[in-house]
């Protein structure tokens, strides 16, 4: 691809704890092009949210980036100072969190919160900022936006609030959007609206997006490419059709087989035995090997398998070939 908007090269995040140093993100690499939506999927604790936080530089102490690079439009930002990151956040990277109710300051009107963000990043007058804010609200589909500008967050419904949050994240026109579980806290009926909104905005603005979620259904609907994370590592990455239809990593395969949305046509949902290991007790070799139906000796000892191209690869010594049955 042409220069990607976001590129991660062997990004590693570590947390020193009294039980030892944990690695919630372990040498993760991928790239997102303009206008492309990368879905990052995985169970709770797989490191997907931590990766998003690392990109935008909002890791909670004592977590810190200890290795690898984060490149935003070719520029290395993982070592930036606080001040430099502040210039990037909102302006070039926008982030949306899971719970729209707690994401908005309950004591300020949404108009105020929009205007302050706009005036922070764009050199415009207050009046112009307000006009842009209004525009932003309309763009995300808030009806009678003019009247709602001076309303408080608690006066909106869940879906509307998330739209406001998205408007806030995008009002300074960033080139990258990180959405961390944007639909998880919403009703199912509203989820579809929000994902459609995100898709549309990315297309229209040519904005790259990192969509973090554990919901395969959302991924299947919205993403162009999918990255599957497991125990802090990247298990597989590839185009959405391939990930869903013919996954190569046994974990991805198990994931698809256990998700109703992705396994249409299957008679029974399969379950992956066991559970994702704790970060404090990761197995040697491949992190998935204790649960893998295809496990061999090599998997137990040799670390870091990777097979495939930059765009579509799987971290497995014995990836499932097209047409093959998993186990």
């Amino acid at each position: 691809m042409t220069r990607p908007v976001l590129e991660l090269r062997d990004l590693t995040v570590e947390i020193p704890t009294r039980r030892g140093t944990l690695r919630p993100v372990d040498r993760v690499s991928w790239a997102i092009a303009a206008g492309e939506i990368l879905g990052v999927v995985g169970e709770s604790g797989s490191g997907k949210s931590m990766t998003g936080n690392a990109v935008i530089g909002l890791l909670d102490r004592p977590a810190a980036i200890t290795g690898g690079e984060v490149l935003l439009e070719g520029e290395r930002i993982d070592r930036y100072t606080l001040r430099q990151m502040r210039g990037i956040r909102g302006k070039r990277i926008g982030m949306v969190f899971q719970d729209p109710l707690t994401s908005l300051n309950p004591l300020l009107t949404i108009g105020d919160q929009l205007v302050e963000t706009i005036t922070e990043h764009l050199d415009v007058s207050d009046r112009e900022a307000r006009a842009r804010a209004l525009q932003g609200l309309e763009e995300v589909g808030i009806p009678s936006a003019k009247n709602r500008m001076d309303a408080y967050p608690h006066e909106f419904s869940g879906g509307m609030r998330q739209r406001v949050v998205i408007a806030l994240a995008l009002c300074a026109e960033p080139t990258l959007l990180i959405a961390d579980e944007p639909t998880t806290a919403l009703d199912v009926s509203v989820q579809a609206q929000i994902t459609a909104l995100l898709k549309r905005l990315c297309r229209e603005r040519g904005m790259a997006a990192m969509l973090i979620t554990h919901d395969m259904g959302v991924i299947a609907e919205t993403a162009d490419r999918v990255a599957v994370m497991y125990a802090g590592r990247l298990a597989e990455i590839g185009p959405v059709a391939q990930i869903v239809g013919s996954p190569r990593h046994p974990y991805t395969d198990g994931l698809m087989a256990s998700t109703p949305a992705a396994s249409a046509g299957q008679e029974r949902l399969r379950q992956i035995p066991g559970a994702m290991p704790r970060l404090t007790s990761l197995p040697d070799g491949c992190a998935f090997h204790p649960r893998c139906p295809r496990v061999a000796d090599k998997c137990r000892h040799d670390p870091r398998p990777e097979v495939g191209t930059a765009d579509a690869r799987a971290a497995c010594w014995f990836p499932i070939e097209a047409g093959e049955e998993a186990a």
Binding site: L58, R86, G90, L104, P106, L108, E120, A172
Partner: protein, 325 residues
């Protein structure tokens, strides 16, 4: 919203009535007013006459209502100790306490909030840690000890400030003030610090802990994710949200300053209603005790009411249904 206000006012009245009942019960059951007022040499006829005059032969409820009625008119009876109307005594001494409370309050709130915000924002700094450690001492030092030590240091050793009393006061008719004279102002310094220090420490720790709590909230995170400056995040967002619970507690604390004045007034021999109350307790001067109790209750209830209403005004979430979130 109106319903909420009415409900709170109603509750306040109930509290006042209960306190009135307690005060009245003290009158009725503690000590013997007859003995106090008439002394040893008394005839049975005197006693009977006094009993009638004081209404001691009426039913309990009647006496209670009479008591309340008189209280509302400002009649709290005669002090056992000074043989003067209690209302007069209190009116004389109230300005001293109120001035002291006011200055201490301003000190406590101003410094408390400022230091609280500072130690929350600069949480890991050296200055913050020092302040927090000394603050713990502030909470562990009893007020009277602070007063004594201050007197010793500034009054006895350094001789900079007076060690007791109020200094010269200016009589403004119904109010006497120490704020207009040099000695009056000097006399205010040590007592205000003493009285305000404990409150200031409490407020500071409260503001700090609330602010730290707020700074962990998602909307602060989102504000940072939007690239807002630290100043905007800390003050426009965090402080504003911190103030909501802080206002409630601070308001209540200020009320208790008036009660804590008892201690400070004792240490500094400050001629206020606090010192009056302590003397009353030592001499079992019931009318004064009861009057002080009622007065303080009215003040507290009023402050609580104002604070509750303020709370609703500040937090828009409460305006819709008037119920606390």
């Amino acid at each position: 919203m109106l319903a909420y206000i009415l409900r709170r006012v109603f509750q306040s009245i109930i509290v006042l009535l209960v306190v009135g009942l307690v005060a009245f019960s003290m009158f009725r059951f503690v000590g013997d007013p007859i003995e106090q007022l008439l002394g040893q040499e008394r005839t049975q006829a005197d006693v009977e006459r006094l009993r009638e005059a004081l209404g001691l032969n009426d039913a309990f409820v009647i006496q209670y209502l009479n008591f309340l009625g008189r209280a509302l008119q400002g009649d709290f009876g005669i002090s056992y100790r000074q043989s003067r109307p209690v209302a007069d005594i209190i009116a004389e001494r109230l300005p001293a306490t109120l001035e002291l409370a006011l200055i201490s309050g301003m000190l406590a709130v101003g410094l408390g909030i400022a230091l609280g915000v500072f130690t929350a924002i600069r949480r890991d700094g050296v200055a913050a840690n020092i302040i927090m450690s000394t603050s713990l001492i502030g909470v562990s030092l009893p007020t009277f000890l602070i007063g004594i030590l201050l007197i010793y240091l500034f009054g006895v050793q350094l001789r900079w400030l007076p060690t007791f009393g109020r200094g010269d006061v200016v009589d403004l008719g119904w109010w006497t003030t120490g704020l207009l004279t040099e000695s009056g102002l000097k006399s205010l310094i040590l007592p205000s610090i003493t009285l305000g220090l404990y409150q200031m420490t409490l407020i500071m720790r409260l503001v700090r802990s609330e602010m730290l709590e707020v700074l962990r909230m998602d909307y602060i995170r989102f504000a940072r994710a939007r690239g807002l400056r630290a100043r905007a995040v800390n003050f426009r967002h965090a402080l504003k949200n911190t103030m909501v619970p802080v206002i409630t507690v601070t308001g209540l604390q200020l009320g208790s300053i008036i009660a804590f004045a008892i201690i400070t007034e004792t240490v500094f021999q400050w001629p206020g209603v606090g010192l009056l109350f302590i003397n009353a307790v030592q001499f079992v001067d019931i009318p004064v005790m009861a009057a002080y109790l009622m007065l303080i209750s009215v003040m507290f209830v009023l402050i609580n009411l104002v604070v509750d209403l303020l709370y609703v005004w500040v937090d828009p979430r409460l305006r819709i249904d008037g119920r606390a979130a």
